[in-house]
Amino acid sequence: MGTEVQIPGQTGAFAQVIAAFLERELDPAGLVAALPALQAQRNLFLGRFGAEYLAELSGAELLGLLPLTTSDESLCAWLRQRRTPDFDTGLFGDIGDAGPEEFGLWLDEASGAWLAAGPAGPRQLDEDEAITITLALRDELVAAVGALRPLSALRPEQLDPIAVQRAVAAAAPRLAGSAWLHKYLHLHHPDRVTSAATAAELDAHLRRLGLPPGKRGLYERDVRIIQFWCQLPPLQRLPPRLRYRPGEPPLASRLEAALQQAGLLERDGRPDPLELPVYSLQAMAASLLAGQWGAAAPAAPVEALGTVRVALPIRRRPERLFVARISGESMDDGRSGLCDGAFAVFSLDVGPLARSPIVLVRGSFHEPEEAGYALKRYVEERNGTGAVRRVRLQSLNPNRGSYPDIVLEGELDAIQVVAELIHVLPPAQGPNSRDVSSGAAIERIERRLAQIAARFFAAPAEAARPGDGTAWEAGLVLRDGQLTLVAGPLAGLPGFARELEIAAGPEHLRVLAANLRAQRYAIPVLPSTAEYTWSAPGFEEELAEDLRALRVPGLPGQRATAFRVGAGGVGHLLRGDTLSAGQQYALLVPPVLLNETLTDAVPLGGGWRLYPCELPRPTPEEQRRQLARLGLTVTSASLAVAWALFAPRGYREGRGGERYPCFLPGDEPVLCVDRDDAAGTVVLFVHGPGGVQRRTIAPEERFIALTDLVVGSYFLEIIPEDGAMEIAHLPFAVLPEAPPAPRYEATLLLGQERLTIVGSSAWEGDLTGLGEDLSISLSAPPLWPITARWRGARAIRAGHVHADLHGEVDLAPIMAATRPERQRRRVGDLLLDLGELGQLVLRHRRPADESVLGDALETLLNQRGSLLAQAAGQLDPLRGAWLDPLCEVLGYATRDLRPGDGPVPPAGVGALLLDAPVFRNEGWSLRPAACLIIVPVGSDLRAQGQESPRSYGLRLCQKHGLRRAVLTDGLRWALLSPDLKFLPQWQLDRALHQRNSGELEGFLATFLAEAQP
């Protein structure tokens, strides 16, 4: 059982995974044990460069101590590169890429002059100016340390990230954004400033915690990171300065892996992509025999083509990076990724060439006047004195015959090492980079399409089951304006699991497991930042492992989540935060953005809102700004592809819940391709029953009709050459025949009996156990309205329901509304009114059963016997406890006489009217059936005379037009009728105790309500 972590907001899911990770991976004892050594190094640094010490120094002393010079003993040298046993700067964060210009002052090694960073580049200073600047820098360093000092007294949760950022920015306006100051402050206040060097690193750290990237500065990010870690129970025993260490190297990579495994981070996710320029130069990876440069080496001027967002696995100074495309195959060894057409990131900062790096070299390789670029491994060969004797520009391609090395000897000035290869971009990441035309690329795309299509269209029968090598899946989509969890089919889910429970934060809901075993099932859920987890109530441990695969990460709590609305109106979750113009989205906006005014937003509960958002092309600036406030960006380039003009014949759903259109042979569905001119080549690939077909779509070609379609499943992709644009995919199918239209019919299944509802019809039987012992189900056209009414001793509007999508009608509300009447009464009608389709009356007729009625009366007598002994003969005390329930068993409803509604009763005599259901005019109504005269205990029921109850009863019957009166003191019962000269009389308690005497049979035969089935 993992550690319970209670963290509100969207980081909850991350916190759970991280807490589990810490329990597995963290070695608190080791960390603490290493602390003294770390502190010793920190003390050494502070002794040499601490703020208090610097504050005492003169300008001249500071000039020799702070900036980078030829000495390795300056502050900057210690911060950036000192790695000695007494002080290893790497233990406090790596700022190896920090340039001197970022610090603002340095000594030029070659000229010996002081240089300062300026808007137009470095400028030379005299010593006085250098001292002035170094004093200012010192002041900022000291002030920044002072600004953070009061924060040490506060607990992490008391810190205001923005206030901290402002404090540092105010103290050190020039250095606040620099890695130099950040590391300097980390060495002073490791409990308040992390060891990361750049905003990108900090954002990567934030991303590992499920937190949004920073927008204010380094220190605001630091505080949020520290606050997160300080909440985690497993870290409470560690000093604050160590608590955030698990989020930094070297543990960071393992943490990322854990988060990826939990589905919280994308596997190819990288911290904060850099926006890098793309140059037109092509790095030629080509050779000619005999080591000559290829004639195709480009000589055109280098131009910037735009930018691309690149996530680099290693840290480099972004301003020195660029992207270029590789041409040729001499560097393709099958592993390097340096294949023809690939894009790669280069750094203008070339490291020591003795490492034999892969570099971009420039030289006059073909024509003396023209320069070209080549990509090769740069291998120096030295002579005995260490001087470079020869340079070998080495090809990686093992086919040496086609791709020999280039050897330069004594002509080294002819080439210039321009840049070093840093990283090869994966195919999908290249800018303007997708290869959509080469044979290899097409083959790759076709192979991929086939795989995607097979997976997308996989039938439920091929669904995954635990242990067969694939996993169950679940995901979030937006359907019909609701956030919906789609899961299943869960083939192999054990039969003993009757229900599955889904939990997300405080919300728990249950679904029948049977719904998910053989089909994909959609479950509406509330938005939550917490992970959606599954369990099987009663079998939590047995199925925990299998159900873990169904976990779905919670939604971001700090930004809106975008769902792209596809064919069929279903919204598909976007993992990222980038939207494309020309597309239709629905945005789930978290409660934290409550202040953002969103017209037409629909509340979803818990402060979440659903905001429909269509992005026109071009997207207006105001809309972009609004989306930015919601944490979303809009790509400038766009490609929108959609089905146009015609409705399909139907829709089906792929395995992920994505709805796709279905057509018929002979249909010619039309695609509309809208794109920017910058999209370059756009190729349409269609994977179908006949294999893959492709077509390059020219810019002016907007409507594409797909003709001569045969039955089968198709997966269509539109791939723009511009790598900055998303690939669009549109699955569809061609069916052998049209999906069935809704049928104009309604059928009721009543037990084993099948009733078609046409016109007015009726069925008669005992409805006591309807919906329980007697099953009932009704099917009708989807959404067809059904009104149900009960009419018996009471009229009840039993419900107005609609058939569902499949035409099934949920009759549970109707059954619930009528159950009491069906169980209490022996007669009544349940009318199912389907309007123009027809009406069906279910006539409830339950035969009188002496045994059942006797039991009911006996139970009543046993319960109320003591009351009866005391209150017999008195109307008021007997009414509710005895007379009403007894009359109900007999089929009557009692009713009070209104004032003046009959003769004045004799002293001690009371009266009621008994109503009984009467079937009239095709329906039931309650009609007066008899008078009930309550006489005093001991009085003679048969007594005659003006003031006798008998006489009163007759007059009351006459007044109300009735022919029956019942005389009783509660236990003695007699029937009075003008037609009867003899007054039959029964002793109810005796009749019930002596069932075989026949007295009860006579009592029931006399007093049961007239309405007999």
Binding site: Q584, F646, P661, F703, A741, R743, S925
Partner: protein, 345 residues
Amino acid sequence: MKMLVLPPTEAERRLRDRCVGANPVQTIEGLAELCRAEAAALGKCLRRVLADRVCALLRPVGGIPTERALDVIRRLEEQGDLLAGPGGYVAAAPLRAIHAGPGHHLLLGGIDSVALGAALGVAISPSVLRRLRSEPAEDAALAGAVADLGGRVLSIEAWAGLDRTPPADAAWLATLEERLHDPIESIAAAEAVLAPAVGDLEHYIAGEHRWRCLSAASGSPLLRARQPFGWFAYAWVASGSTAPQLREALRLGRDEARRTQFALDAAAGQPHRLRFEGTGTAARLHIEAPLPYAEYRFLLGFAERSGWEGLPIRYSLPAVDVPRVSACLAQRLGVRIDHLSTETP
């Protein structure tokens, strides 16, 4: 499979062809056609989703506002081509051929006209929202073809519900009185029956065709009160000397209340007036109040609603059907019919 690039003009031509010759961007007929077809494809869906899908299909050829699509969808629901369910859901309705006269059928349902015409072997003539089939013979064959599509041929009376609902007459008012005194009904004080009311209770003033506050006037036993979400609840109150809101009352549905209004007006000697204006083969009908549901559907079997905002409600219908329509409405609702000829001599 082939991929064929279509010029915009060809794309628009194909669009019109699929919408029985009407451009859905420009005409209600075409838009209704697209709404039916998309609804049939989607199955049950939110009304808004259907409208969005239709708009998305038309966006490449100019597009339409979502509100326009929503408006047409609502009209199709009212007519019976689509079914409306709770929560804003809609679905394509099954096919019904409503027999409104010899060889004359109103075709209702979510099936698109191209498919419907092909199945029935006749051209479907859209008339704004309605689709008609007028073939003097072969009614028997029609029943078979409709059944093959899952539908049924119905008489106009059965479809409208005239055979299941009583006319708005004195007998109807007597029924209400009878129900009011039937102990089987849930009877309570009017103010309880109409709770939770928002604002004052109102009387229906028979003969004046309007509602007034209880405090301002005495009126008929028909009361109403606005409910928190804006709709009205109706009740029929017992006669008596106490304040109407304290008298026993029977809750009525909206359709029962409409029927009662017509009955009360007729009983007061001031029935509603329906005005037919004839212009040759066509006629226009003006009605000052919403009709009860059954009579409204009967009217739809012959007439097309042509005005959608405010009163009077306007319909257009063939002049040949005026006698049957006016006879039915007069008999069932007690309305007075005014015939005006607008033809110039």
